[in-house]
Symmetry: C2
């Protein structure tokens, strides 16, 4: 039985092709490479009913993933995260069919584990022994931990402002961790130099072709969880944008397989922060590429990316699905984060909260209709971001008694 129907890599800019057995990075033209599958062969043997017999993790879609031998799969059980109906919040927003796909319930506590699981597995398959990457925190945590499991050495460079827990995860993994007094772009330059100096595999966003295949599984799961009847809108907090590109790729492939109705694609929404909104600006100006954002700053650190290497793919996905790009303020997302936890009991990450604010705003502007089914990606666990909550609780002594105002 064929485990994967992967065929080759291709360049979406110059159409050059590459094989999937050697270590490949960017195309010689400088563009990211995408993975192609032999869909005609896959169609003959792969159908939705097969999935019912499989474990609830992302490897259930192995025919559509690039790892060719099951022996190379590096897994900690990632995927099939819950699709949670948010009734109270939805009522508050006037979106009765509001859902959260909760990517906090995954190894390392963020959606980055999807890209890491598939990316590291394929790196192992093509013989990578040592990799390096810049990160805003969560990707470094995920890639260093999956690399540890795969016996691949890792060098991680992250801004000093990245969530503190993520540097601890890198250390726990035994990675070579460096902090940089700057932004992820600065970390990227340091990694690029180290890659040259020490002949490392460059695992930077979209500089290796396979993490997008891992992120793609979010789209596959959304489709499966809705019984292959797609929702109307999907909102995604966008930094490097690989998740959005991946979801779009998933939907296109499902259409090609004939599993979904291709006439009614969900509208994809790229959500950014007012303090770092290069994609929003490019979209508003009708451009195909984004300009680097100056003095980028937001509490939603995961989307603090001034320049995304896949900007043209993000903008294309939004346009092709009649989606949009929208930014929100840090103040609003912090308010929303608390509204979500008190109304729904779900403690989301700042990036996820930003996407919920976007849903609220788009409903207010009527871009989202009342009867539409709306999915928000919460890209990580709130517990990785303790600084979003201030605690001011009374301290009692053992003989004390709770005496007053205990009910708020």
């Amino acid at each position: 039985m064929t485990y994967s129907y992967v065929s080759h890599l291709y360049c979406p800019k110059c159409n050059n092709t590459y094989n999937v057995v050697e270590k490949n990075q960017l195309c010689s033209c400088g563009s990211p490479l995408l993975v192609s599958y032999n869909m005609e062969e896959m169609k003959k043997v792969f159908y939705p009913e097969l999935l019912r017999e499989r474990e609830p993790n992302l490897w259930r879609y192995h025919e559509m993933l690039p790892v060719q031998s099951i022996e190379n799969v590096v897994s900690m059980g990632e995927g099939m995260t819950p699709m949670v109906l948010m009734s109270s919040l939805g009522e508050d927003m006037d979106i009765p069919n509001l859902y959260m796909k909760d990517e906090g319930l995954i190894p390392t506590g963020s959606f980055k584990s999807r890209g890491a699981a598939v990316g590291v597995s394929k790196a192992k398959e093509v013989g990578v022994e040592e990799l390096a990457m810049p990160t805003n925190g969560n990707a470094g945590a995920a890639w260093s931990l999956y690399s540890a499991r795969a016996r691949i050495k890792s060098t991680i460079v992250m801004p000093t402002d990245a969530p503190e827990i993520t540097r601890k995860e890198c250390v726990a993994a035994g990675a070579n961790l460096y902090l940089v007094d700057g932004l992820i772009g600065d970390a990227g330059k340091i990694v690029a130099q180290a890659v040259k100096d020490y002949d490392l595999f460059d695992a930077s966003t979209l500089k290796e072709p396979y993490r997008i295949e891992g992120k793609k599984t979010m789209g596959l799961e959304i489709a499966e969880q809705f019984g292959w009847e797609l929702p109307d809108v999907i909102l995604y907090p966008t930094g490097g944008g690989v998740g959005l590109i991946g979801i779009f790729k998933a939907l296109q492939e499902l259409k090609e397989l004939g599993w979904i109705n291709g006439e009614k694609m969900p509208r994809l929404v790229a959500v950014q922060s007012d303090g770092c909104a290069p994609i929003v600006k490019a979209w508003q100006e009708g451009k195909t590429n984004a300009e680097p954002w100056q003095d980028a700053s937001t509490i939603a650190f995961g989307i603090n990316v001034s320049k995304a290497i896949g900007d043209f793919l993000i903008l294309d996905a939004i346009r092709q699905t009649d989606g949009c790009a929208i930014s929100v303020s840090d103040e609003m997302l912090l308010d929303e984060l608390r509204t979500i936890s008190t109304k729904e009991g779900t403690f989301v990450c700042p990036e996820g909260a930003a996407a919920f604010v976007a849903a609220r705003k788009l409903r207010e502007s009527k871009w989202i209709k009342q009867d539409e089914r709306v999915v928000v990606l919460n890209t990580g666990a709130g517990i990785k971001y303790p600084n979003t909550v201030e605690v001011d609780a009374p301290i009692l002594q053992p003989k004390d008694r709770i005496v007053k105002d205990y009910v708020k």
Copy 2:
């Protein structure tokens, strides 16, 4: 269709019975109450093949859970956590079939969510509007967040030494949080007083009968994940011990249903810390109840429980399954925690690490045989315990270059 085959509550000490429609706490004799089901009726309609059609969360076992109406289910998608083969660690321990059930991949990041999901759902069903509980952190986080989702008010009292993130989760949920300069026993006394003073529902461990049913689902999932062929040994970090009692109850019920071979029950192991080992002491001394442990102290804070109200049930479960109780040192568990993350890429909680140390020790003493299938419960996500990892990483400036010793 009958959603639940729950029948009544019974006292394992005096055999008194209670109904499942009113608010019940302890038996009038002071013992915890257990939930009974109409197994004969359940058998007629509930069989393993049904599960394949159901979503991967703990409500797939709703016939065996106490919530009678699906409308009362308060869920964030909890359950069906991964069963991860730990090959490298297993090789290191000479236990080739070593598995981790990873309870970090669940809402609120700890196995406490199982008890909270079922306990809060049933509380909602019987009309609870306000509850209170003492906690070592994670249970308070879980119960306050699930209560928020259920529109139930909560009052949580936890030691000041409890993991800091858990107090933030309580605040995020909008709970009334109090810290106590003492141990969980002191928090328990304050809660008991508040329950009297303000007529609250007491959600303390085993003082309400339903959380054990939620914890029971760990046992159901283990059995299902092994294809109803049970593993040989299950190790469980034991504080209040509800998980162990629940797993034992699950196995008994599955035996009654005829889904498993009742002749070959897994040996259950209660793992404690050298600094707080009342169950281990009682087991060694052949007692049926445990004495309160003096000056309890361990870094594995979740198992820092001097006196468990269900001690007699824990000791009974260990004896009936030919299991054992064992304690480990804080030093060893911290070493093991790092061994686990570097070898397997899994970042576990201190309590989970303690249970892995116990597996190692029991293999060394030959209590665990080489060919046995061993399951360790990792009861929470490592990211909730940042203090287990020290970071000492170089800080670079944007123009810097990684120059030396980047490979460890």
